[in-house]
């Protein structure tokens, strides 16, 4: 795909993440995706919550709104309603998305608003120094909960695009995020990508094995399985519970039968925020109360 943008066009501040943090990979892949898809920086908005990963908007030269813990999704939704002509990416940590933001994660997809949500799923609360996140295994630093299941919850919440990737495989991540953006661009609605993200500081080891080798050994690309049909939600659920020796990545589910909210309600060609800024004549309303 030829484009007038290069990765460097998206460069901004130097990240303050720990050296080696998987968030660097996500940042770099995002820049690459935007560049190769030819998305002008000023036509992209990244909305994030609060956490290590949520600082990402400060490190990339697209529009960025770094908001509060757990609220990236509804803010991105409001933004997309007002400016459906822009590419809107919502991003947040696993605490952000699945814990404090779970009420939105379980409901925003039902609107089928055309945004891509990326979860930086590192199994910990990075920024508050390593407490267990919702996806942490039971027992991890005193965690009394069983882990949150991002893929099944996303499916059950009605996301029309559900995928998983990880920071050890940037090419795969690039592929998946591109597909997610395309899903939205094509007007099919809400896309979710669970990104298993390396936290070098607080969660470098999974079941006694280094994070990187653990997943490298087990990653299993659904799109390489000729029998895998991402339009079959039951299959998606089934695969979502596969873990252990095989760790499925790729597009679990893609439903192209539904319209995105902004398409269905005719917002795309008439963005509310771009309509004339002026007083309206409300005589018709007032007259009702005569």
């Amino acid at each position: 795909m030829s484009t007038k943008y290069t990765i460097r066009d998206y460069d901004y501040k130097k990240p303050t993440w720990c050296p080696g943090c998987g968030d660097f990979t996500i940042l770099n892949v995002l820049k690459k995706v935007f560049a190769t898809m030819g998305l002008p920086p000023h036509e992209v908005v990244v909305v994030s919550g609060i956490g290590c990963g949520s600082k990402l908007p400060h490190y990339i030269r697209v529009n960025g709104f770094h908001t509060i813990h757990g609220r990236a999704l509804p803010i991105a939704m409001g933004l997309k309603i007002a400016r459906p002509d822009l590419t809107v990416i919502s991003i947040g940590g696993d605490g952000d998305t699945f814990g404090i933001g779970a009420g939105h994660f379980a409901n925003v997809p039902r609107s089928n608003i055309g945004i891509v949500h990326l979860a930086q799923n590192n199994g910990v609360f990075g920024l508050t120094t390593g407490q267990p996140s919702p996806t942490a295994p039971k027992g991890f630093r005193g965690n009394i909960y069983r882990p949150f299941q991002p893929i099944p919850v996303a499916l059950s919440a009605g996301a029309t695009f559900v995928a998983r990737t990880w920071t050890g495989n940037p090419n795969h991540m690039e592929y998946v995020i591109k597909e997610a953006i395309k899903h939205v661009q094509e007007g099919y609605g809400f896309a979710f990508v669970d990104i298993i993200q390396y936290c070098i500081t607080y969660n470098p080891v999974i079941f006694g094995e280094p994070f990187i080798t653990y997943y490298k050994k087990r990653e299993y690309d659904l799109q390489k399985d000729p029998n895998y049909d991402p339009s079959d939600i039951t299959m998606a659920y089934k695969m979502a519970y596969v873990d252990g020796d095989k760790f499925p990545i790729g597009i679990f589910y893609r439903d192209t039968s539904q319209k995105a909210l902004e398409v269905e309600f005719g917002l795309v060609n008439d963005p509310p925020a771009l309509r004339p800024r002026e007083a309206r004549d409300v005589r018709e309303i007032l007259d009702k109360y005569k």
Binding site: H42, G78, A82, R280
Partner: protein
């Protein structure tokens, strides 16, 4: 209650279980009265349930403006037994004690279990009981068809129309208008009204009627609630995106906006919670769309964290808070002015904002519209706080002159500025430090330039900062907006009216109030002047920025300062003490979940005056 003091105008009431259609009749009657040229004040008391219980709706009207209700009833349309004699107090104590000599009761005795003695006693008190077989009339009218007994309200309405001597054709046209979309329903209702009217005419020809002549000239007025006018005001101001989660008494704003959303191009969303509501609005406003939300105190509690985000990220957001009695779920359908401090101090830290306190639906219209101007001009959250008494009561007020609201836009970054940013290879400064504290906005999608914003403390570009000096610079910048706004409030005092004074400006008695007590205090003022008591009413309309100087000068010289609040804690009294260091001499508070009636306030005020005079 014999010998209760009566005031001008007529006080009609309809009582009945929820689901019996008391709202419909009260609102139709009110509309008809206004069409005849009367001034109406109508307010409802209802329980937090869907069917049953006991609700009642008061309609008071006169040939001159009035702004309050009274506790006594001239005409009572009682749709069920509890409306008359109560049900042992579970839902109702009944309304017979609110009747006086000469009052009329419309009641269906054959469908009732109320004992005869009750009626004998009523008659002995000089009360006219008009026994109307409303249920039978409905049954007969249906003549074997499907019977919906709810519509007996319409029969009682017809009787009321007769007793009050209203123009029957006009009333019928109002009924037809209401059911315009379903002609058959309209005609059925007109017919039942007619049957009631005729029944009354035939059976009570010689009975008492309580008739007021309409005023000779008719001012152009509206009859509407605060919620109606909130919706109208938001539309007037160019609203684009509205998010709301239902909560009494704010819920209806959504419904009113729904009616007009297509015409005005407003996108409405009812998401999963108030957390979502406020954040959706913040997203939309960040994107450049005028966006607003409405809620009550409990929903507002869930919005507080995000308000702080709007504060520091300077997102223009309008939040309507229609209050009800707390704490917690409290009395969800009742009245209290209890959220003033909550809305003032929502969220950690502090940030520029405005908190406006309209005193009636007319003010709501302009205050909400102006809230959008203020929010966008100063890029900050603006809260409009009123309460159930304003939200859901029908007031009669002059047709607002739309043009008294002027759309004022945000300061947008100029093309020249954009050009020079581009030429310098610089980035847009979302939080540019300026003299007036206002950083010009830029549209998302502006060629080659991007916006960064954050809820963290930041530098001019919207990058996170942890520097002490940058913190101070941005904090000062944010608060310079309030200084700028304060200057505007002074310069355009007569436009915003942060404080209004009614009555003689140099009266020795100053009655201070805010929000929904305005109506009853205005009516009290009239009574006092009849009694020869010279008092003025100081209405405080801004809680933030607090109009300290205006309040001081309004209270200067007053020998007796009395504050009236519909709450327990004296929230405005505290604000005045804090800001103006002025102590009130007396406070009249009410916290039983009900608004002040005119006689209640009058009585408390008079006994207070007596006390003070004895002591003083």
């Amino acid at each position: 209650m014999v010998g209760m003091r009566r005031f001008r105008g007529i006080s009609w009431m309809i009582g009945g279980a929820a689901g019996l259609g008391i709202n419909t009749v009260a609102e139709l009657l009110s509309k008809a009265l206004v069409r005849e040229g009367f001034y109406v004040f109508a307010n409802i008391e209802y329980e937090s349930l869907i069917r049953g219980g006991h609700s009642y709706y008061r309609v008071r009207y006169d040939t001159r403006p009035l702004n309050s209700h009274v506790d006594y009833v001239d005409v009572l349309l009682a749709l069920d037994d509890p409306s008359l004699v109560g049900d042992g107090g579970e839902h109702s104590d009944g309304h017979v004690h609110e009747l006086h000599e000469g009052s009329v009761v419309i009641f269906d005795r054959e469908s009732s279990r109320v004992e005869d003695e009750v009626f004998e006693e009523l008659e002995s008190r000089g009360i006219y009981v008009y026994d109307v077989p409303m249920t039978r009339i409905v049954r007969e009218a249906a003549a074997g068809g499907k019977v919906n007994l709810v519509v007996r309200n319409m029969v009682g309405f017809g009787v009321s129309t007769y007793v009050l001597g209203l123009d029957k054709d006009l009333v019928e046209s109002v009924i037809r208008e209401r059911f315009a979309k379903k002609e058959a329903v309209a005609e059925a209702n007109v017919k039942l009204h007619d049957l009631g009217y005729r029944y009354a005419m035939e059976n009570f020809r010689d009975g008492r009627r309580i008739i007021l002549d309409p005023p000779p000239t008719k001012e152009e007025t509206l009859i509407a609630t605060g919620n109606h006018m909130a919706a109208a005001g938001a539309v007037r101001a160019g609203l684009r995106v509205w998010a709301q989660y239902p909560m009494t008494p704010a819920s209806r704003i959504y419904r009113y906006l729904e009616e007009v959303k297509d015409k005005y191009g407003i996108f409405l969303v009812q998401p999963e919670s108030e957390l979502a509501v406020i954040n959706i609005a913040i997203g939309a406003a960040f994107a450049g769309a005028r966006a607003g939300v409405a809620t009550s105190g409990g929903g507002f509690a869930l919005m507080t964290e995000a308000l702080g985000l709007a504060g520091i990220a300077e997102v223009p957001i309008v939040v309507i808070v229609a209050s009800r009695p707390g704490p917690s779920t409290g009395l969800p359908t009742r009245q209290e002015q209890g959220d003033l401090r909550q809305v003032l101090h929502a969220s950690q830290g502090y940030y520029p904002k405005a908190v406006i306190l309209p005193g009636d639906p007319y003010e709501v219209f302009f205050d909400v519209a102006n809230a959008f101007n203020i929010a966008w001009k100063y890029q900050m959250p603006v809260i409009v706080n009123y309460d159930k008494h304003i939200a859901e009561s029908f007031y009669t007020f002059p047709y607002p002159d739309q043009d008294m609201y002027v759309y004022e836009d945000a300061k947008w970054v100029s093309e020249d500025e954009l050009k020079s940013i581009r030429e310098a290879g610089d980035n847009y400064k979302r939080f540019k430090v300026t003299e007036d504290g206002i950083s010009p906005l830029m549209d998302l999608g502006t060629e080659d330039l991007v916006i960064w914003s954050t809820g963290n403390e930041h530098n001019e570009y919207g990058d996170i900062t942890e520097r002490a000096d940058e913190r101070v610079v941005q904090m000062d910048k944010r608060y310079r907006k309030i200084e700028t706004f304060k200057r505007e409030l002074e310069e355009r005092f007569n436009y915003y009216m942060p404080v209004k004074v009614y009555g003689e400006p140099d009266a020795e008695i100053a009655i201070v109030g805010w929000g929904s007590t305005k109506g009853v205090i205005l009516d009290l003022l009239e009574l006092l002047s009849e009694d020869g008591v010279n008092a003025k009413f100081v209405q405080i309309r801004f809680a933030y920025p607090f109009p300290t100087e205006a309040v001081k000068s309004a209270l200067e010289g007053a020998k007796l300062k009395v504050i009236v609040e519909n709450n327990f804690d004296g929230l405005m009294e505290g604000l005045i003490r804090e800001n103006a260091l002025i102590e009130m001499d007396q406070s009249i508070r009410k916290y039983d979940g009900r608004p002040f009636s005119l006689e209640y306030l009058y009585d408390r005020f008079i006994s207070l005056l007596k006390e003070v005079r004895v002591v003083g």
